[in-house]
């Protein structure tokens, strides 16, 4: 016959075993409930983030030459010499290092460039040069060469501005021959056959390589980056969608 102490021990052991089993059950229940909730919520949040990211990832390529008339109007009467827009004898040159596939450059083209062209370039305060700094991908190089080929017929700026108005999602494959040709036609490139031949020229490789070296030397690693060059020296103003006032102040500082 078990003593009273042994009975107590046995009861205690049984109670602890029951408690341990209940605790284990409760642990499993919590783990399944909370774990499932966390997993489900996480999936929902990630899906929402991806959807918002995709919708903000730029529009698909447009129909080719949208806004051609608006660009023609914007640049009408301003001289173009190769890659330079405006008076070639202007004391100051505003240099933009840009990539045609870059959405921030597109934003600059829409938000800041129109004021820069109408208030600064058209008035002869400075001329404006666009240097092809290709960083997005291989399609940027193809697009840059197409724009440079348009410079042979002094329609470089029409080509750039119209390209930005019709820009698609980077590296999505929209930069096709037909897309580039529709931009060339919309930009008013007079001789399309010559333009097609010119854009295949190997001389543009050296042009693009020179810009790459220049950006490395200047410590530039983003597009669009604006630099001003005048009698007072050269100055990298900054990157991104800079306000016109900042560029005008920089122009004054190098006049």
């Amino acid at each position: 016959m078990a003593s009273r102490k042994e009975q107590k021990e046995q009861l205690r052991a049984e109670r602890m075993a029951r408690e341990a089993e209940e605790q284990a059950k409760e642990r499993r229940r919590r783990l399944i409930q909370y774990g499932s909730a966390a997993g489900f919520l996480a999936i929902c949040v990630v899906v929402v983030l991806i959807i918002v990211s995709q919708s903000g990832g730029g529009s698909s390529a447009g129909s080719g030459s949208k806004d051609a008339a608006a660009i023609e109007q914007q640049l009408k009467g301003i001289p173009q010499h190769g890659t330079v827009l405006g008076d070639p004898k202007a004391k100051v040159t505003v240099v933009e290092f840009g990539d045609l596939q870059c959405p921030v450059c597109q934003a600059f083209s829409v938000q800041t460039a129109p004021g820069l062209i109408s208030d600064v370039v058209r008035k002869g305060t400075a001329n404006y040069e666009f240097r092809q700094y290709v960083i997005i991908g291989p399609d940027s190089t193809v697009a840059a060469k197409a724009a440079l080929a348009a410079s042979e017929q002094d329609r470089y700026w029409n080509y750039i501005e119209l390209f930005y108005r019709n820009q698609g999602t980077e590296n999505s494959g929209y930069v096709t021959d037909s897309f580039l040709e529709s931009i060339a036609k919309g930009a008013g490139v007079p001789d399309i056959a010559k333009w097609n031949k010119d854009r295949e020229s190997s001389k543009w490789d050296a042009t693009l390589s020179k810009v790459q070296k220049e950006t490395t030397a200047l410590g530039i690693n983003a597009t669009p980056t604006i630099m001003v060059d005048g009698p007072g020296g050269s100055k990298v103003v900054g990157s991104g969608v800079l306000p016109l006032s900042q560029i005008e102040s920089a122009i004054k500082s190098v006049q």
């Binding site: 605790q23 909730a37 966390a38 990630v46 903000g56 990832g57 960083i135 997005i136 991908g137």
Partner: protein, 152 residues
Amino acid sequence: MPSERALRLAGAVIATVGIGVATYITIADSGGGAPTCLAGGHGCATVANSSYSHIAGVNVAVFGIVGYVLLLAAAAIPGDPGRFGGLLMALVGFGFSAYLTYLELFVINAICQWCVASAVLMTLLLLVNAARALTYTGAELTAPPSTSVDQL
């Protein structure tokens, strides 16, 4: 398995490093710049200039800072709320990091070392938080009984 205290400490340290990385990317990107790739090259600039670098006009790195701060908070919160809050945030961070890495590799075609660093930190945080939640959920329930034999 390490103690919960050790896992919480590891989570806090990794989240703090993550806050540093995400803050650097945010500061470098502000004003249109880009983080500097340590080994040179233009990978970071390409990624920073991509349209995928912003969600609804906000730099992705800002979301990273918020995520790491919440993970740091989860490491500081004891019990199941901290365990599952941490697991939830780590799952979100890991899932979104995986998506961003896919974009870098197959859409943008460029790799930014800072983004890779953040993805690695998120992976570590998922491991730490998953270990904490799976091992220590309901740990309070199994606390040693305070009653003694004599109290029966």
